[in-house]
């Protein structure tokens, strides 16, 4: 038995799965404190006694961090410290960030001496007093989180660690993310991902803590996992430190869930939630991954991520009339208090759908002030927004099946330009939770191998064996483990050729296979 939970901005969905059978599901409202919402959701699917449940794991997927970035919401006041001078100063940290997100994280940047050459020589030695001075400046600016990125920290991480130690001595309260733990070679993209991680670090503690409280409070006593952007799982401690890895796990889960529910392996999947709609392409049952640098909230990173476009359209999107504007603001988890249907004063996309008779919730008599013209215009606008994003994802003019999942699927009509058919699978409103419940266990290894002692093939197979071993020890069924990523990077110009090999494998938890 496994439990998959999707904690969205508006709804929390849970599903209890045995093998491939959906035993029980629930949909509840996400609460401000998160804990009680997850708890409520779990109570609905759990039998009266959890003792004999035989629960293997609880997997949580959350769009919390993605939404925080999209809405520029509750982002920590973040600084970026780059260990680099005199190199790389023409392109300072956040040089390619959109102004609005830069402004919302404040974006204090500090360039100091440091960094390594590709061969491990220092570009310059760390300057203790420069770093302490930067720390004081951060403290006086009220900086809450810091990203430390050193040139070639992937070759030698010691400077990043020393710099972090110095900063901790001066300002112990600042949460620190180090780039060598986040990304790979390519300083701008790695630094960007590290800054994103840092600006999420204040919320990650409270959010993951809230998940743990809910699960432990019910005496489930099983391992808590969060899903990552590649569809694999990470444990709760890891997730607290690396919230950025959960970015885009929502779309991955909903696409995997949509494939599971429909049996369709190639389609567009649109997941319409309370705050946003994520649209991606399924290819052979897996999300198509982007081959180019991926933007998160307009920021370029070098993560391997599903090729997903997000728009601020969801059940809670605020609708204003004359002219019709939908979103980007959403009432989010206050839908059942602030929307017209529930006696509130704010017109939402859900109010529009209810007025059109597309969904039957709340008190329709409260919608009498919405004119039919506005309802038609708003519905048309929502379809148009979805068609636009589908069109941007497609690379040929051929029509393709469109699977609508998520709690807000009723916002979209039955005709969309570019769609060969529109499917709304049963249980599609909890596709996210299902995708989380069927998530796989991953294993990674990364090491440097000297090719004077072994062949390239031996190096690759040694690295692969290690990754497989890790996946299996984390609970993967050895028979199902496959290599999903294999990267070899030449390390030096030395005559004794050395390569860095990075392998990633995934496998199923035994009862799923």
């Amino acid at each position: 038995m496994r439990i998959g939970i999707d904690v969205g901005g508006t709804n929390t969905d849970s599903v209890l799965i045995e093998g491939t059978r959906i035993v029980k599901k629930s949909k509840t409202t996400t609460t401000e404190d998160i804990t009680s919402g997850v708890r409520n959701s779990l109570i609905e699917i759990l039998p009266s006694s959890v003792k004999d449940l035989g629960l293997d794991a609880v997997m949580i997927g959350t769009t919390h961090f993605t939404n925080a970035l999209l809405q520029r919401n509750k982002l920590a006041k973040t600084a970026s410290l780059r260990l680099c001078l005199p190199a790389t100063q023409m392109l300072p940290p956040m040089v390619d960030w959109p102004e609005d997100i830069k402004a919302s994280v404040k974006g204090y940047t500090y360039l100091v001496d440091g960094g390594f050459e590709f061969d491990g020589r220092e570009i310059s030695t760390l300057n203790d007093s420069q770093i302490r001075k930067a720390a004081h400046d951060m403290a006086s600016n009220g900086v809450e989180a810091l990203a430390i990125s050193g040139i070639f920290s992937s070759v030698d991480s010691s400077q990043e660690q020393t710099a972090a130690q110095i900063i901790r001595e001066e300002t112990p309260h600042i949460r620190i993310s180090m780039s060598h733990e986040i990304g790979r070679v390519g300083v701008l993209e790695r630094e960007n991902a590290t800054i994103l991680n840092a600006c999420l670090s204040t919320t990650s503690e409270s959010v993951v803590g809230a998940f743990r409280e809910a699960v432990d409070g019910l005496g489930l006593g099983s391992t808590l996992f969060l899903t990552q952007n590649d569809g694999t799982l990470m444990d709760a401690d890891f997730a607290t430190k690396y919230p950025v890895y959960s970015i885009s796990s929502g779309p991955t889960n909903s696409m995997r869930g949509a494939a599971f529910l429909t049996g369709i392996q190639n389609a567009i999947v649109a997941d319409i939630g309370g705050t946003s709609t994520d649209v991606g392409i399924l290819r052979n049952g897996f999300p198509r991954e982007s081959t180019v640098a991926v933007e998160v909230g307009g920021v370029r990173t070098n993560f391997r991520m599903p090729d997903v476009l997000s728009i601020a359209l969801g059940g809670g999107s605020i609708v204003t009339t004359s002219p019709i504007v939908i979103g980007p603001e959403s009432v989010g988890l206050q839908l059942t208090e602030r929307s017209l249907l529930f006696g509130g004063s704010i017109m939402t996309a859900t109010d529009i759908a209810a007025a059109a008779g597309l969904v039957d919730i709340g008190d329709k008599s409260l919608l009498s002030n919405i004119s039919k013209v506005d309802v038609d215009k708003a519905l048309k606008m929502m379809n148009y927004m979805t068609e636009e994003v589908i069109d941007r994802l497609k690379f040929s003019s051929d029509d393709i099946p469109v699977i609508l999942v998520g709690g807000g699927h009723f916002l979209i009509g039955n005709k969309l330009k570019g769609a060969s058919e529109i499917l709304r699978p049963e249980n599609g409103e909890i596709a996210n939770a299902i995708g989380a419940a069927i998530a796989q266990i991953g294993g990674q290894s990364e090491s440097i191998y000297s090719l004077t002692e072994m062949s390239r093939e031996e190096a690759v197979s040694t690295a692969t064996d290690e990754a497989v071993k890790r996946a299996v020890s984390a609970g993967a069924d050895p028979k199902t483990v496959i290599v999903v990523e294999l990267e070899e990077i030449p390390l030096t110009y030395l005559p004794s050729n050395a390569i860095r090999v990075r392998v990633k494998v995934v496998g199923n938890i035994p009862d799923i296979s």
């Binding site: 005199p86 390619d96 070639f152 390519g186 300083v187 701008l188």
Partner: protein, 357 residues
């Protein structure tokens, strides 16, 4: 005459990536550097080779080093420092700058010192594509002096090579200096005259890269096929389509060498293409048959979006289209092939021009 604006930089960097045939460094970084410089100093004037005056002193600037390093230790204004060092050494002032290679980030390199110093750039370059070695420039094949040369790093070091026996010697010495500088540096070369540029440069290449980039961007905007759009701007052919199934790399003697294997799809199903690269893609074979070889251009692009993929960004699983374009005429002469023909890269095959049918 036209002006390079911030908007043009995106198109040029895409086009330069295609002409870069996998090498020449990450055009995105070059684009950002040029953008930051143009934002600070203003747009850069582009002169056609016909606009040049006989009194002009045209200096070629470029980056040298390993692309894998260049995406981590990103360059700054080293090419400006190299230009100034060269001017001081020779006691002359440059009147225009020219790119050494249109492929990759080097296409944009002259824009940085040009914006800083207020000089124009010439719509031409010394390769019409990208090549891994310094001596592989049309300028040198047709008699332009290759020394003195100034090299600058980001730390403030400058080296001058006042004299060298051959351009190959300049390459050897410059590469050793570059490795000591941390594998990323920029250089400036002895000034050329207008006649030398007209006779020995690949012309209109900045305009070509801009138009190639625009064709890809427009195709993506209008949902039409970016591959066709590119082939209309720059005649060539689709050599292969498929998925990357294996990748082998090693860095030897200062170059990222390797081989990428593509499993065919569509018309190419059931066959395998292998492409060998030394910074740039050099030879493409379907099974054992050579279908395109240097100096003709072999470009790997994303099958769906048409965007170029440089060798350091190649990864297992990518869906790619491999394009072939004919080399500029200056390269397919006897003299040209002696410098950049297949044998210069260790391939025992004769150069046969790309079959466009």
């Amino acid at each position: 005459m036209w002006q390079v604006t911030e908007e043009d930089l995106i198109s040029i960097s895409i086009g330069a990536g295609i002409l870069g045939t996998g090498g020449g460094g990450n055009p995105y970084i070059g684009m950002l550097r040029a953008r930051e410089t143009i934002r600070q100093f203003g747009p850069v004037k582009v002169l056609s080779t016909d606009d040049l005056k006989e009194t002009d002193k045209i200096v070629c600037v470029g980056g040298i080093g390993a692309p894998t390093v260049g995406i981590e230790k990103v360059r700054g204004k080293q090419s400006y420092d190299a230009l100034v060092a060269l001017e001081d050494h020779l006691d002359v002032k440059a009147t225009a700058l020219i790119s050494n290679e249109i492929g990759g980030s080097n296409s944009l390199e002259p824009l940085i010192p040009a914006a800083i110093s207020g000089l124009p750039v010439v719509d031409a370059d010394g390769m019409g594509r990208a090549f891994p070695e310094f001596q592989m420039k049309t300028f040198f094949v047709y008699g332009v002096p290759y020394a003195p040369m100034a090299i600058a790093d980001e730390k403030g070091n400058v080296a001058i090579i006042p004299k060298a026996l051959t351009s190959k010697w300049v390459e050897r010495i410059a590469r050793s200096i570059t490795i000591q500088m941390g594998s990323v540096a920029c250089y400036a070369l002895a000034p050329m005259t207008a006649t030398q540029v007209r006779d020995t440069a690949v012309k209109n290449s900045l305009t070509l890269s801009k138009r190639l980039g625009e064709s890809v961007r427009n195709a993506n905007k209008t949902k039409s096929d970016p591959i066709n759009a590119m082939l209309k701007v720059n005649p060539g052919k689709v050599l292969y389509q498929g998925k990357i199934s294996s990748l082998q790399r090693k860095t030897t003697q200062g170059f990222a060498r390797g081989e990428v294997t593509v499993d065919g799809s569509g018309d190419f199903m059931g066959t395998v293409m292998t492409i060998e690269f030394q910074n740039e893609n050099l030879i493409a074979r379907i099974e054992d048959e050579v279908v395109c070889v240097v100096p003709d251009l072999i470009s790997i692009v994303d099958s769906e979006r048409g965007e170029p993929i440089t060798t350091e960004l190649l990864r297992y699983g990518f869906r790619v289209t491999v394009l072939g374009f004919p080399a500029p005429d200056l390269w397919t002469t006897v003299e040209g092939l002696q410098v950049v023909g297949p044998s210069c890269f260790g391939y025992e095959v004769d150069y046969t021009p790309l079959d466009l049918t």
